[in-house]
């Protein structure tokens, strides 16, 4: 990628300078291909719901192929898309609240961040609860057998292909420790 131009968003490109070697697994990474049991359900299900969210009609063939090559072959694609849309609908207000908190602290310093973060704690709990609620409601969208098939997909495919990578350390006085 060194020195190449990459399309980032419509109408905008960035030049990728010679990048430092990207760590495959930075220290503290949970690698689902090694320890899938350490990938939380909420993380895996959110990846699943997001994967089927905000898709265009032209992507149906690609998504159907994805389902056909997984334990999801027996499921109706529209029912999965409906469940994903339901998830988005539920978490949208929480995300809006979080954005309001962030907008209220536009110039937060590194030292402030931890304090601001305390305000996010209850939102995280709220979001977790909503994800649990959507998982519980899956049979309403895809039927009981469909929910089991998705569970198998989560355990057998999503978790082994997921990594949880720790964020960077908070800089001290703007300087990385």
């Amino acid at each position: 990628m060194a020195g190449s131009l990459t399309r980032l968003a419509p109408g905008r490109t960035i030049a990728l300078a010679s990048a430092p070697a990207t760590p495959d697994n930075p220290p503290g990474t949970i690698d689902g291909s090694v320890t899938p049991q350490l990938i939380p359900d909420s993380t895996a299900y959110q990846l699943f719901f997001n994967f089927f969210s905000n898709r265009t009609a032209s992507e149906r063939g690609k998504l159907q192929a994805y389902c056909n090559k997984a334990t999801l072959a027996s499921l109706n694609l529209d029912s999965i898309l409906a469940a994903a849309a339901y998830y988005q609908q539920l978490v949208a207000p929480v995300d809006a609240q979080a954005q309001a908190i962030r907008d209220g602290n536009p110039h937060a310093t590194a030292q402030d961040a931890a304090l601001v973060n305390a305000q996010f704690a209850h939102l995280q709990a709220q979001r977790e609860a909503l994800v649990t609620a959507v998982i519980a409601k899956l049979p309403d969208f895809v039927g009981p057998d469909g929910a089991v098939a998705i569970r198998q997909h989560i355990d057998g495919r999503i978790k082994p292909r997921t990594k949880i990578v720790p964020g960077p350390n908070m800089p001290m006085n703007g300087i990385m420790p």
Binding site: M1, T6, L8, A9, I14, A15, L16, A17, A19, P20, T22, P23, D24, N25, P26, S33, T43, Q46, L47, N50, F51, S53, K62, A65, Y66, K69, V91, V94, D95, A98, Q99, R102, T109, A110, A113, A114, V116, N117, F120, L123, Q124, R127, R157, I158, P160, R161, T162, K163, I164, V165, P166, G167, P168, N169, M170, P171, M172, G174, M176, P177
Partner: protein, 253 residues
Amino acid sequence: MSRLIKTGTGTRLKDDSWLTMILVQSIAATMFILICQASAFGQMGSLSAYSDSWASDDGTIFSSGVTADSYNSYGHTYWTVTTLTSPSGRNSSATSSQSSGYGAYTRAETSLTGDWDNLDPGDYQTESDHWMCCPYMGGNPFSPTQPSQGCFPSSRTFLTVNKGASVTCLPLHFITLDECIYDKMDPCDVKCPRDRITVARIAIPDTRCLGYAQEIRIWVKDPRTGTVICPGSGLTRFSDTMCFQCQELEVVQ
């Protein structure tokens, strides 16, 4: 804690439990400060990185790379760069848009189309770089050059799927008034065989049943598990030219 001490005026009981209290309080205060420091200058959240690759029945390989942070309280900006490379060196790359919302999610998907006459079998490599910009590290996601200060690929994921194809030879077995029926030759030891093909004669030029059918079915294998996934359908060709055997088109590592 009490002890007897002698003074010039005699012996009295001295209670120095207040010293112990101060000591305990000091330790507790120190621990509190340390914990707060650790919290304030500790790790800033975490991201989820996901990669997947799959094939459609026509042999097109799709790859998807995802970078997500469902609790993005530090306002990190994320994006994903996914590159798919075929065994012959064809490649295709995609870069997602950026996301910095609380439920940040970015997905970069790309594909390499299948060609029945040039299957390009073997290992298809998916490589995804999961980028992030941290505002507290001075990261500017709008910087025209990346990586830059505070913006870097935080992780990289790799995925390999192995693509191959099973070619089934099906001689004409019998003919009815309406149909030509082809049955798989025996033996036919391939990963994704087709047992029988039935064709309506009305769909064939001159309604004449040709001598042989050949069906190509493109499969993908997960090298990690060895699981082969057969497609729902394949490409069928009819000919009077004899096919002698079933074949596996694959690159064995």
